[in-house]
Each structure stands twice: as C-alpha cells, then as structure tokens.
Amino acid sequence: MIDLLWLIIALPLAAAVFLHFFGRYLKEPLSGWLASAAIGGSFAVAVVASIPFIQGGEHGETQMLWDWMPAIGAGFEILWDPLSALMTLIVTGVGALIHVFAIGYMHGDERFHRFFTYLNLFAASMLTLVLANNYAMLFLGWELVGLCSYLLIGFWYTRSAPPPAAKKAFVVNRIGDFGFMVGLMIVFTTFGTLSYTGIFARAGDVLSSGLATAIGLLFLVGAAGKSAQLPLYVWLPDAMEGPTPVSALIHAATMVTAGVYVIARSAAIYELSTVAQVTVATIGALTALWAASIALAQRDIKRVLAYSTISQLGYMFLAVGATAYVAGIFHLMTHAFFKALLFLGAGSVIHAMNDEQDMHKMGGLFTRLPVTAWTMGIATLAIAGIPPLAGFWSKDEILGSAFSRGGWFSVLWVMGLLTALLTAFYMTRQWVMVFLGLPRWAEGVEPHESPRVMTLPLVILAGLSVVGGLINTPLRLTLEHFLDPAFELVTLQHPPEGLGMFVLLAGLSVVAGLAGAAAAFVTYRQPHNAWRDFENGLEPLWGTWEEAYRVDDIYGRAIVYPGRRAAEVAAFNVDLPVIDGAVNGLGRLVRGLGDWARPLQTGFVRSYAALFLAGTVVVVIWLVSAS
C-alpha cells in the first residue's frame, strides 16, 4: 500500500504541470474538472491507505522515494503515520470540494486554467509538507506553499490591491522562515540529521532543556509567520484580495495550519521545554483574543473571516502549547470544515452580489440565497461552539485541557472563554447583517443563488460541520486513539476527568457562546440605523477595532519606513559616490596617466634616437657598475 503513496503528491503535481503547458487548449470547465479529479484521486488513495490506521494498532511506515542529500538526512521520504494521514485527508478532501466550487466561482475568468494550475501546485506542495519524513522536505513544501500563496493572492494582478498584498504575504512569511531556518540549523548541529527518525526518538537524550527551548521558540517564529499569529499575522487580512476559493483553501483550511502541524510534529522537542510550551500557548491565546476583537468591527465580509481564522488558529496554538496535541489537531480539522464553508459561502454571497463585499450593503438575502444562508448558518453555529456541532467538541477540548493544566494556563483559559464569547458575537453579527433584515444593496444588483457546482460543496461541508465533532467526544475518543501512534513519545494533556467537570466547563463555554450570539442577534436584528448608532456609540473603541489597532500603520512607521530609508541611503549615499566613485575614479586615474605620458610620442625620429642613446648610456653604466 505504501508503494502507491507517491501518487498523493504526484497526481496534483502532474496535473499542475500539464495544465501549465496545455491548459490553454482545454475548454473552460475541463481544466477545472481535471484539477479536481487529480486532487480527488489523491483523496481516494489517502482513504484507502488510512484503513490500517482506522482498524488500529498500525504505527506507520516510511518510504524513501529519492535519497536527495544523504549527508544531512534529507531525502524525498514519505512518512505515513496517523498524523500525516489525517492531514492528508483534510487537505485533499476539503481541497477537492474547494476545487469543485472554484469551477463555478472562476467561471468566465480569462486565466481560468492558470488558476487551477496554481491550485494544484499548491495542493502538491502542501502534501509534500505534511507527508515529509524530514525537516528538509517539510521546509521545501513550506516554501512552495508560500510561493503558491503569493501567486494566488496576486492572481488578479492587473488590479491595484492584490500585488502589494501578495508581496506582503511573502515578505512577512520570510521573516518567520528566518527563525525557522535558524531553528533547523540548531537541530542539525545537535542531531547530525534532519530526518524525523533520527531526531524524535533521541530528543530526550540529546537535547538540554535550553536547546529545546531555543528550537521550540525559533520554530514558533516560523509557525507564527505561516499561521498568522502575533506579531506576524498582518499579511492574512490583506490576503483576502485573492479569489475566495484561495482564501478558503489556503488561508483557512490548509496552508495556515502548517505552523500548528510543525509544532505538533515536533512534540518530542517541545516535551523538553516548558518555557517554549508556555510561550506557544500564550501567543495563541493572545492572538485569539486580539483578532476576535478586531473581527467585531469589520465591514468587509471576508475580513471578518480573515480575523476569525487568525483567532481560531490562536486556539490551535493554545492547544499545542498546552501539549494537548490531539485537541489542537482536532480543532484544525473541524475548523477546516466550517471555515472553508464560511469562506465558500461568502464567495457565494459575493458572486450573487456582483462582487460587493461590504456587509453594510447587504441584508435580507435569506430568501434569495437559501442554500447559502442555511449552510452558513450551520457554520456560524459550529464556530460559535454550539453543541452538538463540530466546533463545540474541539473548542471545548482545548479549553478543558488549558483549564486542567492550571497555573498560568488558567489565565489563558479565561482568555479563551472570552474569545469564544466574542467569536459567537461577531459571527452572528455577520450572519444577521448579511441574510436578515431589509435589503440595503445598490441599484442593479440582482442577488441569486449560486449554481449547483458551488452549492453542493457548501452542503457537504455543512454536513461535516454538523457531524465532524463526533469523532472525538469525551464519551468516545476515536480520534485520539487514531492519532495515538503519532504521539507515543509525548504525554498528552487532557481535559479534567469526570462528567461533573465536563458539564461545568462545557456549560461555561456554551453559555459564553449563546450570550455572544444572543447579544449580536438582538443588536443587529434592529433596523439598520439602530445598529449603526450602536457601533458609533462605542467609539473610539469601535474605531480602534475597525482599524485593527492600526498595526499596519505602526509597522509601516517603525519597520518599513526605516528599512526603506536605509535602502535609499545605501543606494544613493554609499553605493553611488563611494563604490561607483572608486571604480570610475580608477578609470579617470588611468586616463590621467595616459594624458601625462602622451607627449612622449612626438613622432620625431630624431627625438626617438636621442632617447635611444640616453637609454643605452644608462644600461652601459649599470652594466659596468654591476661588474
């Protein structure tokens, strides 16, 4: 079975290459279906290959495809264990649904086939990342998904906003990558290899807690960049300039989860450093709260979801920081379902509203877009943590684990609870503003439900958001047993035992969720002027949230401007006068010497003869004196 695993990466990669060269000759929907088939094929292979894990007991195997750099333990080696299998299923499953949705969404775009080339290339890269058995292959996938993110955010590059957004994503990611690379260097110098098999089993014996802390913190820098945590999250809201399927796939369900995956995969290292664990969890909780507050005041339908993604990723970081790795991965999965659904639903709304994205100009869309409204409603309930939908189970497991770890983590638990309240508020606010109330849209916009190629993925994802949580309830920890072999080197944190504690903690988070949802519902169900007044009444706080605490402005003045000035000084005050001056000066010197020597060439035979004589005299004197 492991022999066919290379297909998982190869199918989307081959499709991407094919579409790159021949996509333009295919009629429009065909290239989309080809791309969807490729990733669907990967999903099918992954399902079949996961069966041994479902039956339990299997430990996972590796397969070396090509020994690229044996000296550093870096080859194209696939690791097929429960964790990589689960990640693969999520990436290919949700990815396939998004590919199908995109066939409808990108209809009519003149670079239709190019879009699917990039989407498949992204899929192949992300799969390389999760299937790697060494940090080098992981990093290769890591960088490639960053590249695909850049290509896809800037897909509509003729517009003014996407290119800077794409560059911003890439540059901010690079900062994180720097930290990650330094961490990898420490790993290599300590272990002598980058291969997981040579690292995790020996980590306890080889790493001092200081080194483990260093590696853990540096990996966190990389993960914060890729997964949009404080302080490197600023690229994700701007990334919404890309087409909505891109936002759904890359910036919600898959690429941004790579940071969480890296930390979970490196659990054996984090096991050795409490400092690193606490830092990861604190960053996660802080980010969750910070981003949720910003989401409260956003007007653009996709920006709300962007900050929501940052916030939910914060929950995942809180989980893996508290060594509740299963909880973190569980939330990664449920989040993929409902966040992809929310983004695709938003795409459906945007498509219906003729590319309008300002929620203040929506309203009353429930009757026009019933399928979208119902599915997004389910997703809203899921993300707000209302049982028995998926979000409740995963979020609660995270909060419970933080609570039971105690100490500082109790503070983080409170932050998580508060975030849950805010999450329910801003998601309900969004749903009510878009679908209920009186229509506020401009003249000429004719909202209509999307075609089936777009609504079918919505329905499937809604179903998953409803039942997806049931695979890891306290009554039946199926997912945990599934993932056990991947985490056997570490001790997992769990929520407190006992039905009483469960009801108490779950009750608290459900109350928080319901309170937030109810408050938003009541506020935004009012006529449009009333909630406008409510928002204005909360100034200047509301304005600060809407401007995202002006972080981009601060970064611009504190970092971007000095950097640009430094570059200008280096270019015009150092390079031009000093270096160019030196080179040009040398040229001028040589020419000057030439000008001085030229008069020797008189053209006069007799003066040459005289010089001849003088030279001969000198030589003779020298010869005579030398003897």
Partner: protein, 100 residues
C-alpha cells in the same frame, strides 16, 4: 705593432662622430651613413681587441656584424627610396605623423 689603445681611441672617436651625426643631421641617407660609421667603429674595436688578446673571436664577431649591417642597409635604403618617391624629400623631420 702599434699599441691597441690607439685603435680603441680611433674607434671611439668614430663612434662619437657617428652618434652626433645621427642626432644632428636631417637627411635620411646621411643618418644611415652615420649608423654605418658607428657599426664600423665597433668592428674596429673588436678587431683590435682580438689582436691584442690573440683571440679569433673578435674577427668572428666582426663577420656577423658585417652581414647584419649589409642586410639592414638593403632594407633601410629600400624604405628611404620608397619614401622619397612619395614625398620628393629625404628629410626625417617631415615623417612625424605618428605623434600622440
């Protein structure tokens, strides 16, 4: 036998006359004659030194110099004649176009 020193002195004087003539005269043919004078002064030096030291190498060297001088004269006179045909003048001062 006359003291070899006198021959050397004569050769030196001839060499000096040839040098001065080379530097001061403008006519190409005269400059050539001065060059020949210098060469022959050297020949005289070599012969007298050979006689004084009883060494045949002096006369051997003279043979070489005579041959080279002859070849050089052939080429040089051919060039001067060619220039004269073009310019109708044998003054070297006029041949100064290769200036810097």
């Amino acid at each position: 036998m006359v003291d070899a020193g006198w021959y050397m002195a004569l050769a030196g004087a001839l060499f000096f006359i040839g040098t001065v003539g080379l530097l001061l005269r403008r006519n190409a043919l005269v400059m050539f004659m001065c060059i020949e004078l210098m060469l022959n002064a050297v020949n005289l030096t070599l012969i007298s030194a050979g006689r004084a030291l009883n060494d045949l190498n002096g006369q051997v060297a003279v043979f070489f110099i005579l041959v080279v001088a002859a070849a050089e004269v052939v080429v040089g006179l051919a060039i001067i004649v060619a220039i004269f045909r073009v310019r109708s003048s044998a003054s070297v001062d006029e041949l100064s176009e290769l200036r810097g």
